[in-house]
């Protein structure tokens, strides 16, 4: 332990410009991973500010903080940012950092392609936000995109979307999508080709399995979105008629193509969080993961089924009843492997010596919140139920329980868990617990009431509502929750900054964990491992610590 110094001491002599330069030209998966997560957090703050603006507007009926047009821009930018500029980069960035370490490799399979993907994401994000300045185009109309994150046709047609705002939406996502695809190729090649000796597929950390499925889903889903967006560009710039109803073009085709991407995307956003939870829960329960093989099977099952559920976003479009029935059935079906996972995590915790450090708090919160989001999801798979509640605040509540209560809680848990590995220092656990409870309470204050306002008939994406319809109290509670959440997030950010210089020295393996990233120093050297490790079971570090009773005896 005594050989570990403060993380920046050896580099403090270099000037800031030299320092930045090494980061800008790096092809090291660890530096890229850190940049992914930090950039994602910046966009998270931007997306959060947009959400805050919406909640302020909706605090009371007939409010006029935002114009209707401004409100449309806010929810469009909020959704687009959170999905493409926060969820994807943070999760892919964490995979970037962790996968080579977890499978015992020195770097990703294609390091330069990896750097290329990161910079594509950055430029895509900048292009999206440049629309605030450049979206006016030659028409003096526009600004930020205002067509919703799923950009339904014909709102995106040149007739209804003057200026260049929609073009910025298309190009920003198109470019960052290329970045996601290169990263997915890298994940696949790294996991399949760079595993250390002895790490068979069924000895990989579950996180690696989740990332294989995520990468496959990215490879299936993003190209279809890219194709649809290219068609839209052709419509807007070359006068093609793909989505032009006046020439028999079909708005429904856009919906099919978008949601063929859009639903796998939801699993791209949640499966890495499943991976985090599958790594964290066993370590803090001091038990091996319950049902490893079943977890792998469930993950692969989710991957396949998630490709067959997209039209449950389109139950009110007027598809034939047999189609609605089929997509409802597949949506019910996907809850089975998801439920299996929930029970496997519970089975891991059952009878374990649970230690509720901050990562475990977030994972436990994740379980509760994700189950709620999953249950409302099953409700929305019932076609007549969706006929009643489609495009209402009930749907908004549902997917925030999955994406915030699920994905974001998983991400925060992962940040607390792996921060010591990345920086060499622990984050403050007391502050972490405070942040967790603030976020849990704030989150439920904001999103639980949305279920009720939705059931009462409040449609999503309206900039205001009438008084005396029973909506005031629910909207008021929702907005009150916002500062509580902001306090939680601010506390985490403060914790990250403060702990970087003042945190307790972590050592190689502060959590007494079992996967290979804890076998190297914190932070890891550029080459990750001085000697490539060997593994003979799914818990290589357990075998190293307990040579008298290795897991390989039981495999």
């Amino acid at each position: 332990m005594s050989s570990i110094h403060a993380p920046i001491s050896s580099e403090s002599k270099r000037s800031i410009m030299e320092h930045l330069h090494t980061w800008a030209i790096t092809v090291d998966h660890k530096k890229l991973g850190v940049m992914y997560v930090l950039a994602g957090l910046v966009f998270f703050v931007l997306g959060g500010l947009e959400a805050t603006m919406m909640r302020i507007q909706l605090i009371k009926p007939l409010n006029d903080v935002l114009t209707p047009h401004g409100f449309n821009q806010m929810f469009t930018m909020h959704g687009t940012t959170m999905v493409f500029m926060v969820g994807m980069p943070v999760l892919l960035g964490m995979g970037n950092y962790l996968i080579p370490l977890m499978v015992g490799a020195r770097d990703m399979a294609f390091p330069r392609l990896n750097a290329f993907g990161f910079w594509l994401f950055i430029f895509g994000g900048i292009l999206l936000y440049f629309s605030w300045i450049g979206g006016d185009g030659l028409y003096g109309a526009g600004g930020a995109p205002d067509v919703g994150w799923f950009a339904y046709s014909p709102l995106t047609a040149k007739t209804f979307s003057r200026g260049n705002s929609t073009d910025y939406w298309i190009l920003g996502i198109l470019i960052s999508g290329f970045g996601s695809m290169t990263t997915a190729v890298n994940f696949l090649a790294t996991i399949l080709c760079m595993r250390c000796p002895g790490m068979t597929l069924m000895r990989m950390p579950l996180m690696a399995w989740m990332m294989i499925v995520v990468a496959m889903l990215v490879l299936v889903a993003i190209p279809v979105l890219t194709a649809a967006q290219v068609m839209l560009i052709f419509d807007r710039s070359l006068g093609a008629h793909f989505f032009d109803p006046q020439q028999q073009g079909s708005a429904v085709l856009w919906q099919h193509l978008f949601w063929f991407f859009g639903h796998p995307e939801v699993y791209i956003l949640i499966l890495p969080a499943f991976g985090f939870v599958s790594e964290i829960v066993p370590v803090f329960s001091r038990k091996v993961i319950f049902g490893y093989a079943l977890m792998v099977a469930a993950t692969v099952g989710i991957g396949f089924i998630s490709l067959t559920v997209w039209a449950h976003h389109m139950f009110v479009v007027g598809l034939p009843p047999w189609m609605n029935a089929m997509f409802a059935a597949s949506t019910f079906l996907i809850s089975v492997p998801t439920g299996i996972k929930i029970f496997n995590w519970l089975g891991t915790m059952w009878g374990g010596r649970i230690r509720f450090a901050t990562p475990m708090l977030f994972c436990t919160g994740f379980l509760g919140m994700f189950i709620m989001g999953g249950l409302t999801g099953i409700m929305l798979a019932v076609v007549p139920f969706t006929h009643q509640l489609s495009d209402s605040y009930f749907v908004v509540g549902h997917f925030h329980y999955v994406l915030f209560g699920g994905t974001i809680f998983g991400i925060f848990g992962a940040i607390f868990y792996w921060y010591p590995k990345v920086t060499g220092r622990m984050m403050c656990d007391t502050q972490g617990a405070w942040a967790f409870w603030l976020l849990l309470i704030g989150f439920n204050l904001v999103f639980l009431p949305m279920h009720f306002s939705g059931l009462l008939g409040m449609p999503r994406r309206i900039y205001t509502y009438q008084p005396d319809r029973g909506l005031e109290i629910w909207n008021l509670i929702s907005t009150i929750g916002v500062p509580v959440q902001i306090a939680g997030v601010a506390l985490i950010v403060w914790n990250m900054i403060r702990s970087f210089t003042h945190g307790a020295i972590a050592g190689n393996d502060p959590w007494d964990a079992w996967t290979l990233e804890w076998a190297t120093t914190s932070p890891p050297p550029e080459c990750n491992f001085d000697r490539i490790p060997t593994c003979t079971s799914a818990r290589p570090m357990w075998d190293m610590k307990n040579p008298h009773d290795p897991d390989s005896n039981y495999e």
Partner: protein
């Protein structure tokens, strides 16, 4: 660890193969989007010209024969490189590039007729929108393949190719070339067989 060091042999594919296979997978999905759009819009154009009136299959058949046979010549070129017979490699590679270039020439000739004589552009109707984007993206991919093959040919002429090191790389490029061919089979079926009903 030495106690446990046995039984560590694992299956690990070559990363180049995984990378190229993934790229081909991505491209297949990209083309699926355009093929689905094409199928979806068959017979839905609000006004002419319609496929039956303006598309001529015969020259396209010659074109297709050229492109498909280039898959065989590229296999011969890859084999020649791995055996180290460089002059045979250069011959088969040049033939492959010539066949691919002929395909592009044929596409250009077809488009010239369609645009200037039949007055079909991307903005004329749904047929034009779907036709030019699908055929155009395929032709674009053929051009990218030609660029890659030409690079290999130039390196070969300059004597920079080493059979031992570069045979696998050339083989991966040839995978891409085969992919461009296979996509063409789907595109041809969609546009010139199924789509001719309208």
């Amino acid at each position: 660890m030495s106690l446990l060091a046995d039984n560590t042999e694992i299956w690990r594919p070559a990363r180049g193969k995984v990378g190229m296979a993934s790229l081909i997978f991505i491209e297949s999905l990209f083309f699926s989007g355009f093929i689905v759009a094409y199928l979806f819009y068959i017979g839905k154009s609000a006004n002419g010209p319609f496929p039956r009136e303006v598309l001529d299959v015969k020259p396209v058949l010659v074109n297709s024969a050229a492109l498909l046979s280039s898959s065989f010549t590229v296999v011969a070129a890859v084999r020649a490189l791995s055996q180290g017979t460089m002059h045979a490699m250069r011959f088969w590679l040049l033939l492959t590039i010539a066949l691919g270039a002929y395909f592009i020439y044929g596409t250009l000739a077809e488009w010239r007729g369609l645009i200037w004589e039949k007055h079909l552009t991307i903005s004329t109707n749904l047929f034009g929108s779907t036709f030019y984007s699908l055929i155009g993206f395929h032709a674009f991919h053929v051009c990218v393949g030609l660029l890659a093959l030409s690079t290999i040919l130039i390196l070969g002429v300059l004597g920079r190719l080493q059979p031992k090191r570069d045979a696998i790389r050339f083989e991966l490029i040839s995978w891409y070339w085969h992919f461009v061919d296979v996509v063409w089979i789907f595109v041809f079926t969609t546009v010139y067989i199924v789509g001719m009903r309208a």
